[in-house]
Amino acid sequence: MSQWQSITKLANDVQSGRTSASALVDQALQTIEDKKEFNAVIVSITERARERAKNIDNRVTNGETIGRLAGVPFIAKDNFLTFGSDTTAASNILKGFKAPYQSTAIERLEAEGAICVAKANLDAFAHGSSTENSDFMTTKNPHDPTRVPGGSSGGSAAAVILDMAPFALGTDTGGSIRLPASFCGAVGYKPTYGLVSRSGVVAMASSTDVIGPLTRTVEDAALVLDVMAGKDALDSTTIDRDPTSYQTSTTNYKLANAKIGVIREYMAEGLDPGVKKQIENAIEKLKVAGATVSEISLPSLPLALACYYIIMPAEVSSNLSRYDGQRYGFSHPKATSLDDSYNWSRTEGFGREAKRRIMIGTYVLSSGYYDAYYKKAQQLRTKLIDEFSQAFRTVDFMIGPTAPTPAFEIGQNISDPLKMYLTDIMTVAANLVGLPAISIPIGQIDGLPIGLQLMAAQNKDRHLLGLAKATEGILS
């Protein structure tokens, strides 16, 4: 059992004076310290967190209403710009970078009384599926320290399961929230593209980047989404939120109304038999509970990964251009000419994976290759969007595994980028299409957690969270 109660309960207790924000922050910071050998966290935000907690406690004493997250500690992936610590995206090129402004997501959480206590480890610039691409350290899986936590939000997922905070923030560009949720046994929610502002989050691939929570329960995830979701003047790709509360929507969902499609392509070859069995069990239980389950097929789905690994590096190569050693972050001290400064700062500042993606992205965008790669990938993306919208005419939801296997061993895939990329095979489609998707823990194999992935059509976040909460109920 977790030492943390539900977020709503924690906030109520702080507001009513049953506990204090300072006590919760101390508890979080202590756990972070106690479990630091897991490398889930890059840096604690001790001073600012304690100050904020004290301020909230004083306001409670003065009879003020704090907000839905009163005094609740959380951990942000280190690609969120925050005050109180460096923001590095786990990359050497941003080492020592002090954010001059905070991300919208952090601002909205703070406005409701939440307190950021630490920055979580990630694959540098969120490039990876294991946190092994962090320029600083590899996070260990809370269930088996010889295994990876998944990535790129591996630090965030591990931190939640290690009880370092009631919730953590992640980013999901191709599965980076759901995969570590699956590997660590957390709930990981990827909202509809545009539902949460990307302003103040280090960009990876702008057309698929989303921000979402990692929690222990679906209800907690829904509450955090409630606070973060909605239009933001600083991000033109944000959309209007559903006026109905996501958290409330999780309480009375009727499984009997659900039409769920099992994605044939995800249940095929390459899926670990143990994982497959657990997914099939979950599907059976949903049927028993009254859900209508059928098989569906999306013919272009097997091409989604290839499509993703063209569009994503293209955008990565563009988004990483600004890290040139001229204005902030690492600048090579020995460079005496502009060209050397560019070359050496980027050569030493970027890790291998960032360079690999810059190379691929630069190639697919270069004149003469654009049509053959980037343009073709965009055409395929459009086809995928069509196929999904077609499929969502017959079903409300889709179901399948989050990952083909449980967590793999540290070092197992690191020298084989292709194998590493294949861990994203079941998650990237939701990003390319912009769909909401969630991974919820449904059991374990040899002590390693397995995640079930549920997806819905764009802007059906409320319904998806309802289904996820109901599924969580019948599986526990």
Partner: protein
């Protein structure tokens, strides 16, 4: 030296790309101020302009509106769908490593500009025009081992207007540049202040002896006056003819303009051309313009130079007065405003001529600027009407005018205070005429005998006696009347 005969064998072909700085309060993608004229370096920048991690561009709606206005000024309609793309290159004055521009779907496609060159109208077609964000400024102090970067200009909204290669002489190129300048000012798209680099021209020049085939072109960049456009084209045409005449070839390259030497010089060749890796910008949703937004922008368009020229000429103004009024936009707009108010054409024409003579002279001599000149329609009209009604002489009116546009006020009161009102009161004038006739019996007799010359003399004497205030035509009438009655 190349002879005229050789020169005539070659047809120059010219296309012009013009960067117009849009008149917005803030930048194209951030809330930082857009007026860098008096600002200290690196003071007009936000986290977006600085390319901070996580910073996202937010499109300035005003810039889109100005893009729409430009479309109408260029005789076309804005595209209902346009998008932004990233153009990648590394340079210290480009913080994000890419310039945001409209490569695939510009806001303007097509259109044209009618240009008058020596009384002949030519039509220059527009290929396209796109919105884009400017880069910062790099300063390389001579003799120093460092460069300075000023990012104030980063994100300044520009409209790049690309013409078709429809011009064939330096004069045509100059005339096009000037007309574009007038269009952008009248359409209120840009302040078009050339001194501050609000308009910058790149001229593409090639020559060919075969009118069906274009030669290799050079591109001379960053010209900031009409004169330099003309001179750069002239120079390039001559340089290219000389090369070909010597049996050499013209290479495709980018050239700069040395204003002191009045010469172009080579900057970089084609082989050094960048691969910009254009990519749709995923941070900026497409601009989708509805028919009603387009229609309401169109209906808010002011009159443009060619329509104004027609109107001014219909008043009977000379070509040069017309052009002066068009070029001095506040004056031109003032005159059109009077016509729109339905004032009498003769009075309006009088005022128009004042503006192009006395008032312009004051502006040129820096006693006044068009902006602080007190151009009050009611008082100027009153003055014009006083002239028409012979209440003031045209010489007297000019005295009043000078006072009026400098300090403002009431034309009648100024005329009164300066004692410039003509005597039009018949009784009062009759007394003066009688007196002068009595004093000049010989002249009076001559007039009576039909000696018309003597009338002029007599009017002059009466003017003298009245200290210039006698209404000349009334005076004549009275002279005749009084002599006949005798």
């Amino acid at each position: 030296m190349i002879s005229d005969k050789v020169q005539k064998q070659y047809t120059p072909t010219i296309g012009i790309e013009c960067h117009v700085q849009l008149k917005t309060k803030t930048k194209l993608f951030s809330a930082a101020g857009n007026d860098a004229r008096e600002a200290l370096p690196n003071t007009l920048i936000s986290h977006i302009d600085l390319g901070m991690p996580g910073a996202l561009p937010v499109l300035n709606e005003k810039a889109v509106e100005l893009g729409m206005r430009a479309a109408f000024a260029l005789n076309t309609k804005p595209q209902k769908l346009s998008t932004f793309d990233r153009k990648h290159y590394f340079y210290p004055d480009l913080p994000t490593g890419y310039q945001i521009t409209q490569f695939y779907n510009p806001i303007i496609k097509g259109g044209h500009v009618i240009v008058n060159v020596d009384g002949k109208e030519i039509k220059v077609n527009i290929h396209e025009a796109h919105l884009e964000a400017d880069a910062g400024k790099s300063i390389h102090p001579t003799g120093k081992d460092y460069s300075l970067i000023d990012l104030n200009r980063v994100g300044t909204p520009l409209l790049e207007i690309v013409s078709e290669p429809d011009m064939h002489s330096a004069l045509e190129a100059k005339a096009y540049a000037k007309e574009l300048y007038l269009l952008m000012r009248y359409a209120e798209v840009s302040d078009a202040n050339l001194f501050y680099g609000n308009m910058r021209f790149d001229v593409n020049v090639s020559i060919s002896t075969d009118t069906n085939k274009l030669g290799t072109r050079s591109e001379t960049k960053n010209l900031n006056s009409f004169k330099s456009v003309e001179k750069a084209v002239e120079y390039e045409v001559k340089r290219q003819i000389e090369l070909l005449e010597k049996g050499q070839t013209v290479i495709q390259e980018t050239r700069g303009w040395d204003d002191a030497k009045q010469k172009t010089f080579s900057q970089r060749g084609k082989e050094e051309a960048h691969d910009y890796r254009y990519m749709p910008d995923p941070d900026i949703p497409p601009i989708e313009l509805t028919d009603s937004v387009i229609a309401s922008t169109q209906s808010s368009m002011p009159k443009l130079p060619n329509e104004l020229r027609d109107k001014l000429q219909s008043l009977g103004l000379s070509n040069s007065a017309t052009e002066t009024l068009i070029e001095e936009m506040p004056a031109g707009k003032f005159v059109i405003g009077l016509l729109d108010k339905g004032f009498n054409n003769i009075d309006v024409k009088r005022i128009a001529n004042w503006l192009t003579s006395e008032v312009q002279a004051r502006v040129t001599s820096a006693q006044l600027t068009w902006e602080n000149a007190k151009l009050e329609p009611a008082s100027l009209m009153l003055l014009a009407q006083m002239v028409s009604k012979n209440e003031i002489s045209s010489t007297g009116a000019k005295v009043v005018l000078g006072e009026l546009v400098t300090n403002g006020g009431d034309a009648l009161k100024i005329a009164e205070s300066k004692n410039l009102l003509q005597v039009s009161n018949e009784d009062e004038l009759t007394k003066i005429v009688e007196k002068v006739l009595a004093e000049n019996p010989k002249a009076a007799a001559d007039i009576k005998a039909g000696e018309m010359k003597a009338i002029g003399f007599m009017v002059g004497q009466i003017m003298k006696a009245s200290q210039g205030k006698a209404n000349p035509s009334l005076t004549q009438t009275l002279i005749k009347k009084l002599l006949q009655s005798k």
